[in-house]
């Protein structure tokens, strides 16, 4: 090991609107980080971004963050890693990010070596892996078929730390990575420097959601930094006014994970059974004892999405107690009437029409245990059809039928739906679903993720 300690900084915000305040980032840069990393990805926002290749965070928010990170990391001459860019790490999102980084670098007059790591999988390669029996179900997903691979608009593999280590060893000052494990992004630098893998990975997992492990006073902002050594790691918020309670650090192993003691990552598992969390002062927590258990066969997670159709919606309010008392039966008749009208108009029959009664059971659906009737319902009408044209046509029929349809005991004969907008139908565009959610065995965790370099 070349040095006794290494300091990691989570800097900037690439998700949820983005936007980074340079004075907040500076609090972290003042901690003398050896590298700065920022995670831009998640599958939580759903399949649309992977399917469409569109970037989730608005350009204004991303640009502010990329500018602050590039200026900050370059001023300290430390590597900057940005992972799972664009939310899904699909090829168009990586390209979008590369363009953004080049543009900001040009504007700021910054010069550095850029590495771009792609994570999108070629379909022919996936077909071969499928035939070789090297792709298996994950979290109960149905077995992958050649048709799934063929229909997917983008399939990415979640990289481990190896490609990012290779990029850093290749002299990269700035790394743009496609889909990568959040933890691998933060673990790659200390792993490269030879710190114990168990501590590197657990440290990385601890800081991957930035200040989620801290308590930041109202009106203040903070990032998280971590100091790792051969024996332990210590995490703390960069803002002196923020605190970091031990229990929150321990609790982060629960976050968005099936198990807090076995955290599966590309190539292995973080075992936190023997991890000890020690409150050093109210701002810092020391962690020891975490282990890394390499997997016998290296697997990466595959994520892919396919187009389902196109969506049109309406939103309507209902404040009529007579209608609310028989809403399901009414909506069933609406559905039948829409289907009949659609057939008369010669519209294709392969559409889905769905109603959700907000205020009653829309959020939990069939899991909703509360049966009390509300005084008001927000009705969401939704059609998904093979074309936008069909979805629009179906909802055009549906809004009329819902507005004027009859029902037993009807007194309010002027209209059933309080539509808040004109027009009431809202085309919502393409709909995707996760169609690939699998594990793939690989021989080489590096070869799968091509790296290209550029001197800016």
């Amino acid at each position: 090991m070349s040095r006794k300690e290494c300091v990691a900084l989570y800097g900037g915000r690439l998700m949820h609107g983005g936007g980074t305040v340079e004075s907040v980032l500076a609090l972290g840069l003042d901690r003398h980080p050896d590298y700065v990393a920022s995670d831009g990805g998640s599958t939580d926002p759903g399949p649309y971004y992977l399917g469409s290749g569109k970037v989730m965070t608005h350009r204004s928010g991303l640009e502010s963050t990329v500018r602050a990170l590039l200026r900050g990391a370059r001023s300290k001459r430390v590597p900057l890693l940005m992972g799972s860019v664009g939310i899904a790490g699909a090829r168009p999102q990586v390209e979008y990010f590369e363009d953004l980084v080049r543009e900001v670098a040009r504007e700021e007059g910054l010069h550095f070596r850029l590495a771009v790591i792609q994570s999108e999988m070629e379909k022919r390669y996936l077909e071969k892996q499928l035939e070789a029996g090297r792709i298996r179900s994950f979290d109960g997903s149905p077995p992958l078929t050649a048709g799934d691979v063929d229909r997917a608009s983008h399939v990415v593999a979640m990289m481990g730390p190896e490609p990012m280590i290779a990029a850093l060893e290749g002299g990269a000052d700035v790394v743009i990575a496609g889909r990568c494990s959040d933890s691998a992004l933060f673990a790659s630098y200390p792993l490269m420097k030879g710190f114990p893998p168990g501590l590197c990975w657990h440290m990385a997992k601890t800081i991957e959601c930035n200040v989620l492990i801290a308590e930041v006073p109202k009106g203040q902002r903070s990032d998280i930094f971590a100091r790792i050594s051969a024996d332990d790691f210590v995490v703390a918020p960069t803002n002196e006014l923020a605190r970091c309670p031990r229990v929150k650090v321990a609790a982060h192993t629960l976050y968005e994970n099936p198990s807090p003691v076995e955290l599966h990552e590309p190539g292995g598992m973080i075992d936190t059974r023997r991890a000890a969390y020690e409150q050093l002062d109210e701002r810092s927590v020391r962690v020891t004892g975490s282990a890394w258990v390499p997997a016998p066969v290296y697997t990466v997670k595959l994520e892919g999405a396919e187009l389902v159709g196109y969506r049109t919606i309406f939103i309507a309010g209902i404040r009529d107690p007579i209608l609310i008392g028989q809403l399901d039966a009414f909506l069933e008749r609406v559905r039948d009437a829409v289907t009949a009208d659609a057939r008369t108009q010669g519209l294709p029959p392969d559409f889905q029409l769905r109603f959700s009664a907000y205020g009653r059971d829309a959020v939990m659906g069939e899991l909703e245990p509360t049966k009390a009737l509300p005084h008001e319902v927000g009705l969401l009408g939704e059609c998904i059809a093979p074309t936008q044209e069909t979805a629009d046509a179906i909802m055009n029929i549906a809004h009329g039928v819902a507005l004027h349809g009859d029902y037993p005991g009807r007194m309010a004969i002027a209209g059933n739906m309080a539509y808040p907008f004109s027009p009431c139908d809202i085309p919502a565009g393409p709909v995707y679903r996760f169609s690939v959610w699998h594990l793939m065995e690989i021989d080489d965790p590096l070869a799968l993720f091509p790296i290209t370099y550029a001197e800016l």
Partner: protein, 102 residues
């Protein structure tokens, strides 16, 4: 007594697109121990509330965070047509009003 009067955090969230994970966290050992000892937060309870096959429901006590964690399959994959909660973050309501015998 209701679970929400004992716990500090009651949350649900996706653990990937196919699983829902439920965390009940406490900020004091006394209510944590009370809830654990009551046995209310059992695999059977979660299986029933979330209509999951019992063999796919895991419940883990995690003392370092004073937490009880349950993970189970979602009825609908996140973001699929018919899913109502893409992030899976609003499926906790009924747990809040769960009665814990004291």
């Amino acid at each position: 007594v209701k679970l929400r009067e004992l716990a500090k955090v009651i949350r649900t969230k996706n653990a990937g697109a196919r699983l829902l994970t439920i965390d009940v966290m406490f900020d004091d050992a006394a209510p944590y121990d009370l809830v654990k000892a009551s046995g209310v937060l059992s695999r059977e309870l979660f299986a029933r509330l979330y209509r999951a096959p019992l063999e796919r429901v895991s419940v883990i006590d995690y003392p370092p965070a004073m937490a009880i964690k349950c993970t189970l399959p979602r009825l609908v994959q996140a973001g699929d047509p018919g899913d109502s909660d893409v992030y899976g973050c609003q499926q906790h309501g009924p747990l809040m009003d769960l009665d814990v015998p004291d």
